[in-house]
Symmetry: C2
Subunit: 230 residues, 2 copies
DNA sequence: GCGTAACCTTACGCGCGAGTAGGTATCATC
DNA sequence: GATGATACCTACTCGCGCGTAAGGTTACGC
């Protein structure tokens, strides 16, 4: 028999096991259709333990959200910033003063992002498919998302400044939103298409975005024909 | 008293009232936390009626999904195609043979899209915030989304062909995915920021996308530096 | 004016799953 | 080898809300 980990384990270890199980189950079933019993079973533990360590179902979900979100952020930041990051994760300053040229920063960020999604499909699902919508979590997620957007917007602003041009904050913000959205959408694509490599996906988006951004930053502007489209 | 619609109403009318109520409630509470009683109450009717007309909670939600999705599609198609559309909604052929130049088509589509979202915030929420994730609806939504992507991809392909260039389908598809994702993301922005006009948002995205696409279609390509980034 | 079909109601059954009470085994340590 | 603490369990309660049974009431055909 040699039972598999029938031993008692310290709290910290069990908590991670529970979170692993929870992420898996939540990502498959969604918040409501996931049962605490199933999560407990998959973690090789009984239900009251989950309540003792991680609290309510809602608190458990938020814990998942936090862990996965932090991991994602860390993966991206440590890819973009050459040395080990010292400043707190998510602060725009970390990236703002990086020594790498902006296009390389962007590409590294994208590659890290798609790599993370490819390696943590379940985590990604929990974050961006489940948390959307459900009232208590939406705000939590929105906060994380807006950290992402700020980082990207900071990067774009820096590119623009480097080109010696002016830019209205609202425009930069919109660009950042669009870029983040494009990334999320392609991430979904990556989740469902195992064969696509993160590198290729990152390069594709980089092309799409950078060349667009390039033109914009050089001052080019598309606009409706003078008469307006009806 | 002159009771407000205490009268009996024909089925078709009641069904629409129920769907209106359902969309509102679902969008606020999410699928699971919405109660059939509340939906019935808001529709000014009692619960068994809902079951009699629209069936199960799940079926009701799908009905909402269909109605809102169809409306969105129709809004876009009828904006892009000059005359009243005759071909079935969502078929790529409707757009493929349009007489308008591609940039105008794209801009009209985007404007119609953001206008719809601005005017039907609840409907949009139901579609893209709730249906994501929940197993039974995800496929339903994915189908609609992929119709959108196909339409956009068709448009892009047409642009490329018009420029006399070749393109690999996978690249076009990825571009379409990115564009749709960017649109969705900006749509969320629009939902939460009432002050932003659909026109402005559409123009912003158009700039971002078209200038990017323009470069790409002219054969420009961004690529990592020869040595590769580490 | 009467049958009948469609509209609409009140009032309930019942399963499912979140959360808990209360108890047992193992470890650490002195 | 007692004492405390921490890891862990079985077996329950209980509320919530989906879905329905059974019965009233209005409109319309003839």
């Amino acid at each position: 028999m040699q039972a598999v980990s029938k031993k008692r384990l310290p709290r910290a270890v069990r908590e991670q096991q529970m979170l692993d199980a929870a992420v898996t189950v939540f990502s498959r079933a969604g918040f409501h259709d996931a049962s605490m019993d199933e999560i407990a079973a998959r973690a090789g533990i009984s239900k009251p333990m989950v309540y003792a360590y991680l609290g309510t179902k809602e608190e458990l979900f938020i814990a998942c959200l936090h862990r996965e979100g932090t991991r994602l952020m860390e993966a991206i930041v440590s890819a973009v910033v050459p040395q080990a990051p010292r400043a707190p994760v998510g602060s725009a300053a970390v990236i703002g003063d990086g020594v790498l040229p902006p296009d390389e920063q962007l590409w590294r960020g994208l590659r890290a992002f798609f790599t993370f999604v490819g390696d943590h499909r379940d985590g990604w699902s929990v974050l961006y498919r489940q948390a959307r919508g459900q009232a208590p979590f939406a705000t939590e997620l929105a906060a994380m998302r807006s950290r992402m957007v700020d980082v990207v917007a900071g990067l774009l602003a820096r590119v623009i400044a480097a080109g010696g041009r002016q830019s209205r904050p609202a425009d930069v913000m919109a660009m950042a939103y669009a870029l983040v959205g494009a990334g999320e959408s392609l991430a979904d694509w990556v989740v469902d298409h195992v064969e696509e490599s993160p590198e290729v996906t990152a390069t594709r988006l980089m092309n799409f975005v950078w060349l667009g951004a390039g033109d914009l930053l050089r001052g080019a502007t598309w606009r409706p024909p003078a008469g307006g489209y009806q």
